[in-house]
Symmetry: C2
Subunit: 365 residues, 2 copies
């Protein structure tokens, strides 16, 4: 790459060493994950919800803000927030995960936001139906996609851009998609997309465009940066690969016992201990969660709880008789379509969709 | 060190290279900073407030929670949250900064939470007066310190501990100290200390103990880990050094222009641009803020705004005629006691209190 910004690492986009770059730390300090003990809450408290901001959080003056609905529609609209709030109110609490969650556990490691396991959360979103708004606008027969543009702007891959993502007409017309103005019962906080964001249940989080500025019906698939150059399952810089879409089946565990501050290694007291966590599966559902307490040599079924909402994670639990020694705890989910989390994840060039099983080292004493 | 957990780096506690360890990334992903554009808000939105959790966020069942006030007092008390809320209600919005803010910009770098600039925020806290509660409990003549114990528990420096900090009687009796049960007008979120936390204006954040379990009057200075082994200005592992106490004078700038996603390097459009930020100074106040747009060769006075609250930061602004080229923007505050931010920070062993001037690289075009 011969970009205008200095290359990070050797310029290949991948890092083969086990040390992290300053640029990765900078991103980790801005883009926070859920502390894994936060998985104990079925609905993630707002300030614990994971957050990935591509550029800067925009400053929105609500007096000057409106949503434009245009492009190939019969009735273009410019809507103030109050007008959007007058529409029928919908609430849903889908699980949302960053497509890059697990990137930093790949080897070699794609250089970007260095998520390990923590980029997933479940909030209750309230807003208006996208489908109903599109019906009101009247989509033209030529329309094939809906393009969503946020107010966040910056440079990625040497390209100056507003953050933009599109959905096909059939995807955009799913009934559960919201134009959300509340999160957990309160107006959106600035970092979560104030005053209005898209919420697309089942999809990785990049689709849920924040700080919505306009919605346009367009006559061909959108080829912007965030569709064609980012969020791809590709093998190298020249491979376009496949589009990243739905969240894959995945499960995580609340780390049991007590942590060491620096290493985060856990110490667990011997005896019966209930291991708990959450599992989710995009538009599908979780069929089965299995737990291993010996690094994957043997697996046992965990119990599965209810979902707090359609498209949300399920709680799982498993009672473990912890005996003194070193243990590697693993959890592995299977969805209702028969997909199971892999034991390890082959590299993809952008570090997308790593749903390999979590491995957690604990000392029982 | 011959600890029970594996050493990070060469075991010296310092890192001389410019790459970061996995353990530092893990901490950065848990302990989030304020995105610097968040400095635009006089009161930080709850979910943007910086956060440092030593161990795990405890799960508190409010039905079983109470605050114990004991030790050398004439009237020991056990208080439910409702009883604390019945006391006169105080609200204050002090600026709070982590004592380790700036640690990762030191060279060599102490290995711990790798803050760069972002561990500072200002929230509005509401609660009861600590001084009034202590008066009600009736301090014994033998009492010399007040010890605060949180419910968060883990291992640090090979020592199993609850998080504990103390204040001298004169410090604990300052009228602005709160037992806070609300943040920004709502019950504390779990990660900010639910149901009750100490808020000590002017001091670095380690003093504002979260998840309060008990308050005890004691007859000698508390010598626990977080007082004698951590939060010290020390020169090496064997040096006890001085206690870390009040926040030093400091200023930060909202990064102007647009960011590059990966490197966070900024591109600014030529012409007049208003540089803005915040400055604060512990129990003191900010007297002056100076800005340099050429890496510190020349400094100009910035304008200073009001404080949103006693003990809070002040906004500053400076109009800059940006001409094309590479620039290093710097901001430097002086407090009313005559202390000025240093241009660079000599190492201390634990990476505490680094208030060196921010240096921000921008390209104007």
């Amino acid at each position: 790459m011969t970009g205008r910004f200095p290359a990070v690492g050797d310029g290949s986009g991948l890092e083969r060493g086990d040390r992290f770059h300053k640029e990765e730390i900078q991103l980790a300090l801005r883009n926070r994950g859920i502390p894994l003990e936060g998985l104990r809450y079925p609905i993630t408290p707002t300030g614990m919800h994971y957050l990935l901001t591509h550029f800067d959080i925009p400053a929105v003056d609500i007096a000057n803000w409106s949503l434009t609905v245009g492009g190939l529609v019969s009735t273009p609209m410019t809507l103030q927030l109050d007008e959007i709030k007058k529409r029928p109110v919908r609430t849903i609490a889908p699980t949302m995960e960053c497509a890059g969650n697990g990137r930093a556990l790949m080897s070699p490691r794609p250089i970007s936001q260095p998520w390990m396991l923590e980029a997933v959360s479940t909030a209750e979103w309230t807003g208006a139906s996208l489908r109903e708004l599109l019906a009101e606008a009247g989509l033209s027969i030529e329309a094939v996609e809906i393009l969503f543009t946020g107010l966040d702007r910056g440079i990625q891959g040497d390209e100056l851009q507003y953050y933009q993502r599109s959905l096909s007409l059939s995807e955009a017309n799913r009934e559960e998609i919201l134009l959300a103005y509340e999160m957990n019962g309160l107006p959106l906080q600035p970092q979560h997309g104030y005053p209005l964001r898209l919420v697309v249940p089942g999809w990785y989080g990049m689709t849920s465009v924040k700080w919505l500025d306009r919605i346009e019906a367009i006559d061909k698939p959108f080829d912007g940066y965030q569709m064609t150059k980012s969020y791809r399952y590709s093998q190298n810089a020249d491979d376009q690969g496949e589009q990243v879409t739905l969240m894959k089946v995945r499960s995580l565990m609340v780390p049991p016992g007590l942590p060491d501050f620096l290493t985060r290694i856990r110490v667990v007291k011997a005896g019966q201990i209930r291991l708990v966590g959450r599992a989710w599966a995009g538009l599908s559902d979780v069929a089965r969660v299995k737990v291993s307490t010996n690094g994957g040599s043997a697996w046992s079924d965990a119990s599965l709880g209810e979902r707090p909402s359609p498209f949300a994670w399920r709680e799982w639990w498993f009672d473990w008789q912890a005996i003194p020694g070193e243990h590697v705890l693993c959890v592995r989910a299977t969805d209702t379509d028969g997909n199971t989390q892999p034991l390890s994840q082959p590299l993809n060039f952008l570090g997308m969709g790593n749903n390999a099983v979590q491995r957690l080292f604990v000392t029982v004493e």
